[in-house]
Symmetry: C2
Subunit: 191 residues, 2 copies
């Protein structure tokens, strides 16, 4: 096996989920911002982490409202999700521009995207200054999923949600592929 090639400390992760973060501004205007520096960070309480630069409108909104939502888009909305990451809510009504529908969460002071199939409603637990980005940790108060994206057992079905991913290296999006195997199971052949 050849030695690995060092790419230096510029390079970020291989591939990361694409999440659309919903917030209200001070005037109550709904905003949607695409983020890829995101992840689950705790099981109890269930919590997610999303990072934003201080310059973004989402940063201000989350700190003011102590709340945000995560709306996970399907492949069908790749253009809208990309737009949510390009435009700024400071000078644009991004919901109006895309024609997508903001829905006021009943649990937190933030809107989610009606057309996207998988929603997390989060209240801000803490925020952590790291550097260019600030990380916001939000407790998941509810998960809401389109009925058409659920199995008979009411589990979210990846093949129906069709989430997609961001590859920072090539600055491109990738689909979710086929199911490969069961977790906490296929590894039992070892050891």
């Amino acid at each position: 096996m050849m030695d690995k090639v060092s790419l230096g400390n510029k390079g970020p992760v291989c591939v990361t989920p694409v999440w659309v973060i919903g917030t209200y501004d001070q005037a109550g205007k709904p905003n949607a911002s695409t983020a890829a520096w995101v992840g689950m960070c705790c099981s109890v309480p269930p919590a997610v982490a999303v990072s934003f630069r201080k310059a973004t409108y989402a940063y201000e909104n989350i700190l003011q409202k102590k709340a945000f939502t995560v709306s996970i888009p399907t492949e069908d909305y790749i253009n809208e999700a990309d737009y949510f990451g390009i435009a700024s809510g400071r000078n644009t009504d991004k919901f109006a521009a895309t024609g997508l529908t903001p829905v006021r969460s009943e649990l937190v002071d933030a809107p989610y995207v009606q057309e996207f199939p998988f929603i997390l409603e989060c209240r801000l637990l803490q925020h952590i200054e790291i550097g260019l980005h600030t990380q916001f940790i939000g407790e998941i108060l509810d998960v809401k999923v389109d009925p058409a994206a659920l199995s008979d057992g009411r589990e979210p079905v990846i093949e129906k949600i069709r989430p997609f991913f961001f590859a920072p290296g090539s600055r491109s999006y990738y689909a979710a592929g086929q199911q490969l195997g069961k977790a906490f199971s296929v590894g039992k052949t070892i050891g």
Copy 2:
């Protein structure tokens, strides 16, 4: 469009990357732990966040050594990656059990998995108590990639790395699918 179905606050995210976290214990034994509560969290400095329960061996090791690596497995190593998430380094030598090769990082006091194509070497910046999980934020000091997984322009190529994902709902793994479009580009048709 039908109303969304509330799944309550039990449910975590839709789909999340699978990372193998490399650490040394106090005796210098290399350990590998699979984590899915992970993500990129800052661009400058480049940093990742990985969460572990206090009960895990990785938790102790990271706090002691102030360092960890991220080794991203290809599909070919799904069994080994799953095993790294099932077994505990407290009572097992997981590298020996899988036959995979620990490589000592020259930059941080942690090992990575030689056979996996995409590596991040991280020094611990801070750790955050959230609840059941503690989040470790690590600065990426270097990204190392197998030469066979790079393009001519030395960018990581997803189709060659073939990373995979964990879907918590169905407790299963999913492949990366096809490239869908260019980020910061396809959304320019809007607005």
